[in-house]
Amino acid sequence: MKHKLFHLAHSRAGDKGDTSILSLIAYRPEDYPRLCAQVSAQAVKALLAGLVQGEVRRFELPDLEALLFVCEHALATGVTTSLRLDAHGKSLSSALLEMEIEMDRDIDTRIPTHAHAHTPTQGS
């Protein structure tokens, strides 16, 4: 079954010039390998076709259970000169979370983020 990335991970978009930087952070540690397997740089480039004109590079951050996508020529010449309504590309994080991910289990679409986030297990 397929689920939107929205239910597995969260994201924040940042910008530097004409480059958009999208984080993708697993809510649950066990989903991180799935993100690594399915959310490739090519998959993100295909998803954001028409918005991102340049190369997409992916960084893996296993200690944070996170991926980082650096998308070049993504902001229609850049924040200070773009004619787009969202010149920073702040909303591109939401476009990324629209990606559909193949899952072998159903997931609770209401995610207990805070409970997870306050469990003092990681990195200790």
């Binding site: 969260h10 910008d15 951050l61 200690d63 787009r84």
Partner: protein, 440 residues
């Protein structure tokens, strides 16, 4: 020496809320309060104001932001560090001295100078964004080097309670008090790397405490209307714990810290600042209590021999017009309206951005085509070299009232001058920084 230094983040951009910094100053038991108020473009816009008025060019909110904070400098033994000097740190320092005198709580102010480097640049120098030489951008208005900790240290060593700079790399504003307090060497890149993680986490203030994070039902954040801003408790080894005032809104969790840690980072193994090339890849987070997260594992390697320079240039004017359509067939009427304006302006603008808000304005046509909104808003934008030509966009959208599709309403138009930003590099040794003292 205090074994733990507490650095608070009181503003994350020039337009940030005012009262969270006041709460931190009053109840946060801070040693330093840092106010980061300069975006890439802010300083170029400030420079334009300074050209019009030599006593202007600092952050327009300087007085409003500092007025409620200055009394706590004495009452709480607090020092303020801010880049609100923007294009004119000297004038900003004079204004703060004057304000403090009015309030009956005199302060010593140090202004950090040397970031203005326009006259040092070579027009043949390539820009980092496009590789084209600076001369390609004919109307340069400002060039500011990103200064680092080194430029702030003499000011911190003085008796100033308020330190005002222009362009300083955001994380350096937070790192400098730590380097000063613990006497870290500027060659100690491991500690500087970890300290840069701290500065990077704090530099956007509320973005660490649940601001810009909330998504109802999935990522709920309590008290966003009264979001508390964060602090970091840092020890002599660079060990750090993040926290905020318990009664304030927002949350600090592993998730909020991860989002901010990766924010605007183009290479997590090489986050370049004037102080260090920081490596975030080994950063580990541990929740140590409600709204408390320990951060470890930031590293670094030696700083670059160059400083990044942000160059502002006049990029013409953008004209915009908007009009709304509602009810059945509103998307078709909005599209028709856009086509009409496009046809009318085809001879005047090489490029027009035509969007339907509610359908295609953020992520383009294909993604929005699935939805059938009850209302849409046409937005047209175009760039021109002068304001009068840019205004044509709004005029044509407004004229849809009597000439366009049925039921258009709520027309708005605007013309805004644009300042573009490009970057280049400058050898570090060509930049001369200084400190000037003001006040009693």
């Amino acid at each position: 020496m205090k074994p733990i230094l507490r650095i608070g983040s009181g503003a994350g951009f020039s337009g940030d809320r005012l009262e969270p910094a006041v709460a931190l100053a009053e109840h946060g038991a801070l040693d330093y309060l840092v106010l980061e108020c300069l975006a890439e473009r802010t300083i170029a816009l400030a420079q334009l104001r300074r050209v019009a008025d030599p006593a202007a060019g600092f952050d327009p909110l300087l007085v409003r932001r500092l007025r409620p904070l200055l009394p706590f400098i004495k009452a709480r033994g607090l020092r303020l560090v801010t880049n609100m000097g923007a294009a004119n740190p000297l004038a900003a320092a004079r204004r703060v001295v004057e304000l403090a005198r009015e309030l009956g709580t005199p302060v010593r102010v140090a202004a950090v100078t040397g970031d203005e480097v326009l006259e040092l640049l070579d027009p043949a120098q390539p820009t980092l964004e496009t590789g084209q030489p600076l001369a390609h951008y004919p109307q340069l208005v400002s060039a500011n080097a990103y200064l680092g900790v080194e430029a702030l240290l003499p000011a911190l060593a003085s008796d100033a309670q308020v330190i005002i700079s222009g362009r300083v790399a955001d994380p350096s504003l937070f790192l400098a008090p730590v380097v000063h307090h613990f006497g870290w060497s500027l060659d100690d890149h491991e500690r500087l790397g970890q300290g840069t993680v701290m500065g990077h986490l704090l530099e956007c203030a509320g973005q660490l405490t649940g601001g810009y994070y909330a998504d109802p039902g999935v990522k709920d954040v309590p008290g966003l209307a009264w979001l508390g801003f964060p602090w970091a408790d840092v020890d002599a080894e660079g060990g750090m714990e993040l926290g905020k005032i318990p009664a304030s809104g927002g949350i600090i969790s592993l998730a909020t810290v991860k989002e901010q840690l990766l924010y605007e980072v183009t290479d997590p193994a090489a986050y370049v600042t004037p102080d260090v090339v920081a490596d975030f890849c080994g950063v580990r987070l541990r929740a140590t209590g409600p709204d408390r997260v320990r951060v470890e594992g930031g590293r670094g390697s030696p700083r670059s021999s160059t400083l990044k320079v942000s160059v502002g240039y006049r990029a013409g004017f953008v004209g915009e017009g908007e009009m709304s359509y509602g009810g059945h067939n509103c998307v078709a009427r909005g599209r028709l309206a856009g086509e009409i304006v496009r046809e009318r302006l085809a001879g005047e603008f090489a490029q027009l951005q035509v969007d339907l808000l509610g359908v295609s304005s953020l992520h383009g046509e294909e993604r929005g085509a699935q939805s059938r909104p009850y209302e849409v808003r046409l937005r047209v934008a175009g760039r021109a070299e002068d304001a009068a030509r840019a205004a044509r966009v709004g005029e044509e959208v407004e004229a849809l009232y009597t000439n366009g599709p049925a039921g258009g309403g709520g027309a708005r138009k605007s013309v805004v001058e644009q300042v573009g930003i490009v970057s280049c590099l400058l050898p570090r040794d060509r930049v001369r920084t200084g400190v000037e003292m003001f006040g009693p």
